[in-house]
Amino acid sequence: MVRIKNRYIAVQIVPYAPVKSLRLNDHTLTKCLLQNIEKYYGVYGLGVLEHGFRVKYCNERTKIAIIRCLHRGQRYVSSILPLITLIGDVRAKFRTLYTGATIIQCNKFIIKHQRQFLDRMMGQVASAKERQDLFKRVMELDMDR
Protein backbone atom coordinates (compact mmCIF):
# COMPACT_ATOMS: atom_id res chain seq x y z
CA MET A 1 0.00 0.00 0.00
CA VAL A 2 1.52 3.27 -1.08
CA ARG A 3 0.54 6.49 0.49
CA ILE A 4 0.27 9.67 -1.54
CA LYS A 5 2.40 12.32 0.04
CA ASN A 6 1.24 15.89 -0.13
CA ARG A 7 2.84 19.13 0.84
CA TYR A 8 0.93 22.15 2.06
CA ILE A 9 2.52 25.53 1.52
CA ALA A 10 1.22 28.45 3.54
CA VAL A 11 1.79 31.75 1.76
CA GLN A 12 1.08 35.32 2.53
CA ILE A 13 0.13 37.68 -0.27
CA VAL A 14 1.75 41.07 0.11
CA PRO A 15 0.15 43.69 -2.15
CA TYR A 16 2.29 46.47 -3.57
CA ALA A 17 -0.19 49.19 -2.64
CA PRO A 18 -2.35 48.78 0.48
CA VAL A 19 -5.76 47.52 -0.51
CA LYS A 20 -8.59 46.40 1.67
CA SER A 21 -9.57 43.39 -0.37
CA LEU A 22 -7.54 41.60 -3.02
CA ARG A 23 -10.56 40.37 -5.02
CA LEU A 24 -8.97 36.95 -5.08
CA ASN A 25 -10.43 33.52 -4.97
CA ASP A 26 -9.11 29.99 -5.28
CA HIS A 27 -9.57 29.94 -9.02
CA THR A 28 -7.66 33.12 -9.85
CA LEU A 29 -4.85 32.03 -7.56
CA THR A 30 -4.68 28.55 -9.11
CA LYS A 31 -4.73 30.04 -12.60
CA CYS A 32 -1.97 32.48 -11.78
CA LEU A 33 0.24 29.79 -10.23
CA LEU A 34 -0.23 27.28 -13.03
CA GLN A 35 0.42 29.94 -15.67
CA ASN A 36 3.69 30.81 -14.01
CA ILE A 37 4.68 27.17 -13.65
CA GLU A 38 4.14 26.71 -17.37
CA LYS A 39 6.24 29.77 -18.05
CA TYR A 40 9.16 28.72 -15.89
CA TYR A 41 9.04 24.91 -16.03
CA GLY A 42 7.21 24.34 -19.30
CA VAL A 43 4.70 21.71 -20.24
CA TYR A 44 6.67 19.05 -18.38
CA GLY A 45 6.56 20.95 -15.10
CA LEU A 46 2.88 21.64 -15.53
CA GLY A 47 2.24 17.96 -16.14
CA VAL A 48 4.16 16.93 -13.03
CA LEU A 49 2.43 19.48 -10.87
CA GLU A 50 -1.13 19.61 -12.12
CA HIS A 51 -1.99 16.26 -10.59
CA GLY A 52 -2.84 16.92 -6.97
CA PHE A 53 -2.46 20.67 -7.18
CA ARG A 54 -5.08 22.69 -5.38
CA VAL A 55 -5.48 25.93 -3.51
CA LYS A 56 -7.06 24.63 -0.32
CA TYR A 57 -7.63 27.87 1.47
CA CYS A 58 -7.56 31.47 0.40
CA ASN A 59 -8.53 34.25 2.74
CA GLU A 60 -8.58 37.58 1.00
CA ARG A 61 -9.03 39.53 4.23
CA THR A 62 -6.04 38.12 6.11
CA LYS A 63 -4.23 37.62 2.75
CA ILE A 64 -3.15 34.11 3.57
CA ALA A 65 -3.49 31.06 1.35
CA ILE A 66 -2.67 27.37 1.60
CA ILE A 67 -1.54 25.55 -1.53
CA ARG A 68 -1.54 21.80 -1.75
CA CYS A 69 0.74 19.93 -4.13
CA LEU A 70 2.30 16.53 -4.44
CA HIS A 71 5.55 15.88 -2.62
CA ARG A 72 7.56 15.57 -5.85
CA GLY A 73 6.24 18.88 -7.17
CA GLN A 74 6.97 20.89 -4.06
CA ARG A 75 10.24 22.31 -5.39
CA TYR A 76 8.54 23.59 -8.52
CA VAL A 77 6.00 25.60 -6.54
CA SER A 78 8.30 26.95 -3.87
CA SER A 79 10.88 28.07 -6.43
CA ILE A 80 8.48 30.08 -8.58
CA LEU A 81 6.69 31.83 -5.72
CA PRO A 82 9.34 34.58 -5.38
CA LEU A 83 9.24 35.21 -9.13
CA ILE A 84 5.56 36.11 -9.26
CA THR A 85 4.75 39.82 -9.21
CA LEU A 86 1.21 39.88 -10.57
CA ILE A 87 -1.62 37.89 -9.02
CA GLY A 88 -4.81 38.13 -11.02
CA ASP A 89 -4.78 41.82 -11.84
CA VAL A 90 -3.26 43.01 -8.56
CA ARG A 91 0.41 43.84 -8.23
CA ALA A 92 1.52 41.69 -5.34
CA LYS A 93 4.11 39.20 -4.21
CA PHE A 94 4.11 35.94 -2.31
CA ARG A 95 5.80 35.38 1.00
CA THR A 96 6.25 31.73 1.83
CA LEU A 97 5.47 31.25 5.49
CA TYR A 98 5.58 27.54 6.05
CA THR A 99 5.72 24.19 4.29
CA GLY A 100 4.11 21.29 6.06
CA ALA A 101 3.01 17.76 5.40
CA THR A 102 -0.47 18.13 6.86
CA ILE A 103 -2.98 20.92 6.64
CA ILE A 104 -3.39 20.89 10.44
CA GLN A 105 0.27 21.77 10.94
CA CYS A 106 -0.15 24.62 8.46
CA ASN A 107 -3.21 25.84 10.30
CA LYS A 108 -1.37 25.70 13.63
CA PHE A 109 1.49 27.69 12.17
CA ILE A 110 -0.79 30.35 10.72
CA ILE A 111 -2.52 30.83 14.07
CA LYS A 112 0.85 31.08 15.83
CA HIS A 113 2.14 33.48 13.20
CA GLN A 114 -0.88 35.77 13.46
CA ARG A 115 -0.67 35.71 17.26
CA GLN A 116 3.00 36.66 17.21
CA PHE A 117 2.29 39.45 14.77
CA LEU A 118 -0.46 40.78 17.00
CA ASP A 119 1.76 40.62 20.10
CA ARG A 120 4.49 42.51 18.31
CA MET A 121 2.12 45.20 17.12
CA MET A 122 0.54 45.52 20.55
CA GLY A 123 3.98 45.94 22.08
CA GLN A 124 4.87 48.74 19.72
CA VAL A 125 1.92 51.03 20.36
CA ALA A 126 2.28 53.29 23.36
CA SER A 127 -1.02 54.80 24.36
CA ALA A 128 -4.16 53.03 25.42
CA LYS A 129 -6.16 54.90 22.79
CA GLU A 130 -4.00 53.62 19.94
CA ARG A 131 -4.13 50.14 21.42
CA GLN A 132 -7.89 50.23 21.36
CA ASP A 133 -7.83 51.47 17.78
CA LEU A 134 -5.54 48.65 16.78
CA PHE A 135 -7.74 46.15 18.56
CA LYS A 136 -10.73 47.46 16.68
CA ARG A 137 -8.90 47.26 13.38
CA VAL A 138 -7.84 43.69 14.10
CA MET A 139 -11.40 42.76 14.85
CA GLU A 140 -12.43 44.20 11.49
CA LEU A 141 -9.44 42.50 9.85
CA ASP A 142 -8.21 45.75 8.43
CA MET A 143 -4.50 45.12 8.75
CA ASP A 144 -2.07 46.66 6.35
CA ARG A 145 1.61 46.90 6.91
Binding site: K39, Y41, G42, S79
Partner: protein
Protein backbone atom coordinates in the same frame (compact mmCIF):
# COMPACT_ATOMS: atom_id res chain seq x y z
CA UNK B 1 35.42 20.96 -16.08
CA UNK B 2 31.93 20.47 -17.47
CA UNK B 3 31.18 17.13 -18.99
CA UNK B 4 29.43 17.15 -22.33
CA UNK B 5 27.18 14.68 -24.05
CA UNK B 6 27.31 14.38 -27.82
CA UNK B 7 24.39 13.68 -30.11
CA UNK B 8 24.39 12.41 -33.67
CA UNK B 9 21.04 13.30 -35.23
CA UNK B 10 19.52 12.47 -38.57
CA UNK B 11 17.01 15.02 -39.88
CA UNK B 12 14.02 13.86 -41.91
CA UNK B 13 11.63 16.27 -43.59
CA UNK B 14 8.41 15.69 -45.47
CA UNK B 15 9.19 18.39 -47.99
CA UNK B 16 12.88 19.19 -48.00
CA UNK B 17 12.76 21.76 -50.85
CA UNK B 18 10.75 24.29 -48.87
CA UNK B 19 12.91 24.33 -45.74
CA UNK B 20 15.99 26.37 -45.23
CA UNK B 21 18.38 24.17 -43.29
CA UNK B 22 21.10 26.10 -41.53
CA UNK B 23 22.92 25.39 -38.24
CA UNK B 24 21.44 28.51 -36.65
CA UNK B 25 17.84 27.64 -37.55
CA UNK B 26 18.36 24.09 -36.35
CA UNK B 27 19.79 25.29 -33.07
CA UNK B 28 16.87 27.69 -32.64
CA UNK B 29 14.42 24.89 -33.31
CA UNK B 30 15.95 22.63 -30.64
CA UNK B 31 16.20 25.44 -28.08
CA UNK B 32 12.59 26.45 -28.75
CA UNK B 33 11.43 22.91 -28.19
CA UNK B 34 13.47 22.69 -24.96
CA UNK B 35 11.96 25.91 -23.69
CA UNK B 36 8.40 24.96 -24.50
CA UNK B 37 8.70 21.58 -22.75
CA UNK B 38 10.89 22.51 -19.81
CA UNK B 39 10.28 26.23 -19.46
CA UNK B 40 12.56 29.15 -18.77
CA UNK B 41 14.29 27.62 -15.77
CA UNK B 42 14.45 24.01 -16.85
CA UNK B 43 15.11 24.45 -20.54
CA UNK B 44 17.88 26.99 -20.92
CA UNK B 45 21.19 25.46 -21.86
CA UNK B 46 24.14 25.93 -24.15
CA UNK B 47 24.12 23.90 -27.34
CA UNK B 48 27.20 23.73 -29.53
CA UNK B 49 26.93 22.44 -33.07
CA UNK B 50 30.08 20.57 -34.00
CA UNK B 51 29.30 19.13 -37.41
CA UNK B 52 26.53 20.02 -39.79
CA UNK B 53 25.89 18.51 -43.17
CA UNK B 54 23.00 19.68 -45.34
CA UNK B 55 23.59 16.97 -47.99
CA UNK B 56 23.55 14.11 -45.50
CA UNK B 57 21.02 15.92 -43.28
CA UNK B 58 23.02 15.03 -40.24
CA UNK B 59 24.09 17.06 -37.24
CA UNK B 60 26.54 16.42 -34.44
CA UNK B 61 26.18 18.67 -31.44
CA UNK B 62 26.85 18.65 -27.74
CA UNK B 63 25.05 19.74 -24.57
CA UNK B 64 26.15 19.80 -20.93
CA UNK B 65 25.78 16.47 -19.17
CA UNK B 66 22.89 17.46 -16.91
CA UNK B 67 20.81 18.45 -19.95
CA UNK B 68 21.34 15.17 -21.76
CA UNK B 69 17.98 13.61 -20.93
CA UNK B 70 16.00 16.80 -21.41
CA UNK B 71 17.60 17.44 -24.81
CA UNK B 72 16.96 13.83 -25.80
CA UNK B 73 13.27 14.27 -24.93
CA UNK B 74 12.98 17.65 -26.63
CA UNK B 75 14.53 16.40 -29.90
CA UNK B 76 12.27 13.36 -29.97
CA UNK B 77 9.22 15.54 -29.48
CA UNK B 78 9.99 18.01 -32.28
CA UNK B 79 7.35 17.62 -34.98
CA UNK B 80 7.75 20.73 -37.10
CA UNK B 81 10.69 22.62 -38.56
CA UNK B 82 9.70 25.91 -40.21
CA UNK B 83 6.10 24.66 -40.30
CA UNK B 84 7.14 21.58 -42.30
CA UNK B 85 6.43 18.23 -40.61
CA UNK B 86 9.69 16.60 -39.69
CA UNK B 87 11.28 13.91 -37.59
CA UNK B 88 14.66 14.07 -35.91
CA UNK B 89 16.13 10.66 -35.33
CA UNK B 90 18.89 10.24 -32.79
CA UNK B 91 21.37 7.80 -34.26
CA UNK B 92 23.91 7.82 -31.50
CA UNK B 93 24.74 9.52 -28.23
CA UNK B 94 28.09 9.50 -26.57
CA UNK B 95 30.22 11.05 -23.87
CA UNK B 96 33.14 11.26 -26.28
CA UNK B 97 33.20 13.46 -29.40
CA UNK B 98 31.32 11.98 -32.34
CA UNK B 99 32.01 12.16 -36.04
CA UNK B 100 30.09 11.31 -39.21
CA UNK B 101 32.72 8.86 -40.36
CA UNK B 102 32.78 6.71 -37.26
CA UNK B 103 30.69 3.60 -37.53
CA UNK B 104 28.29 2.51 -34.87
CA UNK B 105 29.95 0.04 -32.55
CA UNK B 106 33.45 1.31 -33.19
CA UNK B 107 33.57 3.36 -30.04
CA UNK B 108 33.07 1.57 -26.75
CA UNK B 109 31.79 4.66 -24.97
CA UNK B 110 28.92 5.08 -27.41
CA UNK B 111 25.49 4.13 -26.30
CA UNK B 112 22.55 3.43 -28.51
CA UNK B 113 19.78 5.96 -28.31
CA UNK B 114 17.90 4.77 -25.28
CA UNK B 115 16.19 6.72 -22.56
CA UNK B 116 14.58 5.28 -19.48
CA UNK B 117 11.52 6.76 -17.84
CA UNK B 118 13.12 7.91 -14.61
CA UNK B 119 12.91 11.51 -13.51
CA UNK B 120 14.26 14.03 -15.97
Amino acid sequence: MIGYHYFDVQLKFRDFDTVELTPIYFRGCVLNSLESFFGEIGGKTSLDIIKFSVEQRRVVFRVPEEFFKRTHTAITLIGHYQKVPCHFRILKTSKTPLDFQKDIGENDNCEEAQIDDCQL
